[in-house]
């Protein structure tokens, strides 16, 4: 499958890879340069492969409260929050952003790789009369991320807020959300209009140093920002409590899938940051050691363009207490050689006020 911007990516000389069945740009001018553009000025991403599920009609709020763990009743129209679909065991079906468009109309933005599964899952809990619609082929999604994003699109929106707006004459949802750790926007536009918005943003942004950015930079940026990715940090064997996401679990909101299990759950693992003290780049699956033996494994690792060293998100089993974790010296097995590293609290990168 191709997004509506595929010809733009080819024209820009992108390297294209297959991702969840989509031909997506992984890099244009180079991952490091794109990454640093987002940290220092602004970058533009095509993330139209993401899935969109719209829910409306009678029973909408009840359905969302049932299948997600955050408290959607607290969302006012024009607000969004990070949440998750959980199994009855309290483990992840997927993570997602819930947007409340109106009192009775929600949009869920889900991972491309899980979209069909999520749709079936939500649909199976819907009452008759509640409309659950896979709208993924109607919405394109662009992400404009970086400290200069607001110079391109001035807006009073605060984090997690969104609004309906016309951009270059095209009706969009302009949302102050993202996956990079920077200020910026995600822009939902009608599928076929995304090119006009892309071209327009590229033109306005170029003088500010805007670069088109691929999935490579998206991954290194989210790792620095400590954001989990389904299939790496989170999966159907992991609960929110085991990846530092207890803040999205609202036990007091009433019944929801996974609540029962989470009430009595004892976390068996935790997510930590790993920062290399020696040369070497930690990669997924590499093992972590302390003097007692193996303590965990890397779930996502990268070279960090911001810190110019290897960093990783890692699962430690069993969890460590905060006191035992922070600044703990460990070693990591990189192709048979033990390299020194240190555990750090997440995120690696937090933007200034």
């Amino acid at each position: 499958m191709q997004t509506s911007l595929f010809d733009r990516h080819k024209a820009l000389g992108a390297k294209v890879v297959d991702f969840a069945g989509w031909k997506m740009p992984v890099e244009y001018s180079g991952i490091r340069e794109e990454h640093l553009a987002v940290r220092g000025s602004v970058g533009l991403f095509d993330v139209s492969h993401m899935g969109e599920i719209e829910i409306r009609g009678p029973g909408t709020l009840g359905l969302i409260q049932k299948v997600t763990c955050n408290d959607a009743a607290r969302l006012k129209p024009g607000r969004s929050h990070y949440s998750a679909l959980l199994t009855p065991r309290g483990t992840f079906v997927d993570d997602l952003i819930v947007y409340r468009l109106t009192e009775g109309h929600f949009l869920l933005c889900v991972n491309a790789s899980n979209k069909d599964k999520d749709f079936e899952w939500i649909h199976s809990y819907a009452s008759r009369g509640t409309e659950v619609r896979d709208a993924s082929d109607e919405w394109a999604l662009l992400a404009l991320q970086g400290p200069r994003a607001r110079e391109i699109l001035p807006s009073p929106l605060k984090k997690t807020e969104f609004e309906k707006k016309n951009l270059n004459g095209i009706p969009v949802l302009l949302s102050c959300t993202g996956y990079t750790g920077e200020d910026g926007y995600e822009i939902f536009s009608p599928w076929s209009e995304a090119r006009r918005i892309w071209d327009w943003l590229m033109e306005i942004g170029r003088p500010m140093g805007l670069l088109p950015c691929g999935l490579g930079a998206r991954d290194s940026l989210r790792i620095e920002a400590g954001y989990p990715l389904y299939g790496h940090e989170i999966d159907d064997e992991t609960t929110p409590y085991e990846v530092g996401l207890s803040w999205i679990v609202k036990l007091e909101k009433g019944d929801f899938l996974g609540r029962e299990a989470l009430l009595s759950a004892t976390p068996t693992k935790d997510l930590v940051g790993v920062s290399m003290k020696e040369p070497g780049i930690p990669r997924q699956g590499f093992r972590l050691f302390d003097p007692s033996g193996e303590i965990g494994r890397v779930t996502s690792g990268t070279y960090s363009p911001t810190f110019q060293k290897g960093v990783a998100l890692a699962r430690v089993t069993p969890p460590l207490t905060n006191a035992a974790r922070d600044e703990k010296n460990i070693s990591i097995d990189i192709r048979g050689k033990k390299r020194e590293a240190v555990l750090v609290s997440l995120p690696f990168y937090k933007r200034g006020p």
Partner: protein, 128 residues
């Protein structure tokens, strides 16, 4: 992309410069382009011995890891240490400053499996 005529090429996208029994090894222009910007290189120690097709080093971009394989059997004579601090030279000058190791070849027959520049270009065309 350039593929100098005086070099030999392996299916694993290394180039080889032969001078008597001394072999200089690097990765090809095609390989560095496929990898993207190289941010980390791991090389063996001098004196280490490798058999043809053994991985002897690693070249990494932000996102990916690639092993580099010994195109011939031999003993490491010299390692290009400066690229450990300047891995980008592998991108910039893959056939020059960006060379990886020098090796003393033990079996000259190993060279028979390597390709000429012309054969290698046909090979990558087919692979793509």
């Amino acid at each position: 992309m350039t593929f100098p005529e005086d070099l030999r090429y392996s299916k694993e996208h290394e180039w080889i410069r032969v001078k008597d029994k001394t072999i200089t090894i690097g990765i090809t222009d095609y390989a560095q382009d496929q990898l993207g910007e190289i941010v980390f290189v791991e090389l063996p120690d001098e004196g280490e011995i490798f058999t043809k097709d053994d991985p002897f080093g690693v070249v990494e971009s932000v996102k990916s890891v690639s092993d580099v394989y010994a195109p011939v059997s031999g003993r490491i004579l010299e390692v290009n240490d400066p690229i450990l601090d300047n891995p980008e030279s592998v991108n910039e000058e893959p056939y020059g400053e960006g060379w990886l190791v020098r090796l003393e070849m033990t079996n000259p027959k190993d060279l028979d499996d390597l390709m000429t520049a012309e054969q290698y270009q046909a090979y990558i065309k087919e692979e793509a």
